[in-house]
């Protein structure tokens, strides 16, 4: 099933390896959202958090503005659900893999979490790659929002992917459902669904439409990640050319 009338997604860009005190760092910008993620690991773990067969995974999410609230707890939980199965935790027992996600600009409005979530997942994944943590596959995520607009003969349903804050503000009152979807990819192609977080009122058809749309977007996101990683590796390897 193809998706028609889809608003072009905002361009996304990524930078890696810019923080010096952590093992891996990544900055993910999409639309008006800007998330920075850092990964340190495997590193020494507190005795009470130590696990005998797998690495302990610590994820800290820091908001852009204000004190840490339940929103950050929600983001942390969803990021963990996506990322924990992808990391080969059993390769480093009795250690800690520490992920910190700093939301610089959330890109969401006061009610939604979707853009922060999908951007955080992408940033976290790239930071894990940069840190050299053993991973099983590639991950990418996206946000899809359904909203209605009035037309001459009733209302029409529109779809926008990864909207900017300005776009969000425009459609705010007409949003019907919000979907955050993360896929696992191998060789640049979709393999399995890792996260499907849908809020609002929607039909079954719409959900499947989302999965197909998200599949294309995630493959595109994967290509953007590959380019950024390639650039990063070339930068790190330039001593070889000398």
């Amino acid at each position: 099933m193809t998706v028609l009338d889809i608003t072009r997604p905002s361009p996304a860009s990524a930078i890696t390896s810019f923080l010096y005190r952590v093992d891996g760092s990544a900055s993910w910008k999409v639309g008006t959202a800007h998330i920075i993620a850092s990964v340190s690991g495997p590193i020494e773990v507190n005795k009470r958090d130590e696990l005998p067969d797998v690495a302990t995974l610590e994820i800290v999410v820091r908001p852009d503005v204000g004190v840490t609230s339940t929103r950050e707890q929600f983001l942390q939980d969803r990021i963990r659900r996506v990322v924990a199965p992808v990391i080969a935790l059993e390769l480093h027992p009795r250690t800690l893999i520490q992920i910190v996600v700093q939301i610089v600009q959330s890109g969401d409005n006061k009610i939604l979490n979707t853009i922060s979530l999908s951007a955080s997942i992408n940033a976290t994944y790239m930071a894990l790659l940069d840190a050299g943590v053993p991973l099983r596959s590639t991950v990418s995520a996206t946000s899809i929002i359904y909203y209605t607009t009035a037309t001459s003969d009733g209302s029409k349903t529109n779809v926008v992917v990864d909207p900017t804050r300005a776009q969000l503000e425009q459609i705010e009152k007409d949003i019907t459902s919000v979907h955050t979807i993360a896929y696992e990819l191998k060789g640049g192609k979709i393999e399995r669904l890792l996260l499907s977080e849908s809020v609002g009122s929607f039909t079954e058809d719409q959900v499947f439409e989302c999965y197909d749309t998200a599949a294309n977007i995630c493959e595109e996101t994967n290509r953007i990640m590959r380019e950024a990683i390639t650039k990063g590796v070339q930068q790190k390897s330039r001593w070889r050319e000398a």
Partner: protein, 330 residues
């Protein structure tokens, strides 16, 4: 992660020996600041990214309408949050305040809030009922020393960059309403910043202690060190002062002093820490140096602000739309 960053003995003696030979590991002079870069977000107001060498800090300024404190009905609220996450360095624990954090937050409080950099009276909307609550959230991304210097610069620059929505009060008496105009409708308004505090940290090294640490090392250089020691005692310059220490220098210093100054040649706060007594003359010249640094940094902030305004303001439309008078800060 090892719970503290104590450098190894080899590092210790190497850095201190270099200092006795008037060398800093990154080849800076003793009173030279690291490369300072200040950039603003092109999409949002009040988002500042400050890079001081490898130290990186992002400040976010935001404002929302709230109720003033009962004992201060004519003042708005201003809160600064300086929580350090493990991103800055894995030795910081999430949710637990380290000693460094407490010192930093106290110094930033004194430098910016207590010194009245932001005019809180200008934040009052309806006295006793509604006021603006301004928040400055400082995010520490990378710790290479000078966290409070970078944080102070970031918050000061952020306060100058931030624009709050314009408001109108309609109605009278108890039926007054506050209309908040979205920034798409009316040009947002800058905050009333009375002065721009800039914090500079000076690190003190006791040369005699340093030489003693090195004296234990084998090698013919030892004899040279002893002679140098005598010369320096004669000149009474047994204290080495470094401006803007890197993390390595911070961990090895014997004492420090943070001075916050502004371009009005005022000192907003001074904090001296560590257990090394320093003679008054040295402290006064540090304060003088801090004022010069404050002037340089404020100039840079203003330059970047102008560049940012030019980028946003293509065609000068925003300038035409403003109804308020110009503010002269520097």
């Amino acid at each position: 992660m090892p719970r503290d960053l104590t450098p190894s003995t080899i590092e210790n003696t190497f850095v201190l020996k270099a200092l006795t030979e008037r060398i800093r590991l990154d080849s800076r002079s003793f009173n030279q600041l690291r490369d300072l870069d200040i950039s603003f977000s092109s999409t949002d107001f009040g988002v500042v990214d400050v890079k001081l060498g490898r130290t990186r800090v992002i400040a976010r300024i935001s404002a929302e309408i709230s109720q003033p404190y009962a004992d201060r009905p004519y003042d708005g609220l201003f809160i600064i949050s300086t929580e350090i996450s493990p991103m800055a360095a894995p030795t910081f624990e999430a949710g637990r305040k380290s000693e460094d954090e407490l010192v930093i937050s106290r110094i930033i409080e004194k430098s910016i809030r207590r010194s009245g950099a932001l005019d809180t009276e200008a934040l009052c909307i309806i006295s006793g009922e509604k006021c603006w609550a301004v928040r400055a959230d400082v995010h520490f991304l990378d710790h290479d020393g000078g966290l409070m210097d970078a944080a102070c610069i970031a918050v000061s620059a952020g306060l100058l960059h931030f624009r709050r929505p314009d408001i109108t009060i309609v109605g009278v008496g108890s039926r007054r309403e506050v209309i908040v105009h979205p920034i798409t409708e009316r040009v947002p308004v800058p905050l009333a910043v009375l002065h721009v505090p800039i914090c500079v940290t000076f690190s003190f090294f006791d040369v005699r202690k340093a030489s003693a640490a090195i004296a234990g090392l084998p090698g013919k250089d030892n004899m040279k060190e002893a002679d140098d020691d005598d010369v320096e005692e004669e000149n009474d310059s047994s204290t080495t002062v470094l401006v803007d220490a890197t993390l390595q220098e911070e961990l090895l210093r014997h004492g420090y002093m943070s001075v916050t100054a502004n371009t009005n040649r005022e000192i907003c706060q001074i904090q001296k820490g560590g257990d090394m007594p320093v003679e008054v003359g040295k402290l006064l010249s540090c304060a003088e140096a801090a004022i010069m640094v404050a002037e340089k940094v404020t100039k840079l902030i203003n330059k970047r602000l102008k560049e940012d305004e030019a980028r946003r303001n293509v065609g000068n439309l925003l300038v035409e739309a403003r109804a308020e008078n110009d503010r002269y800060i520097v």
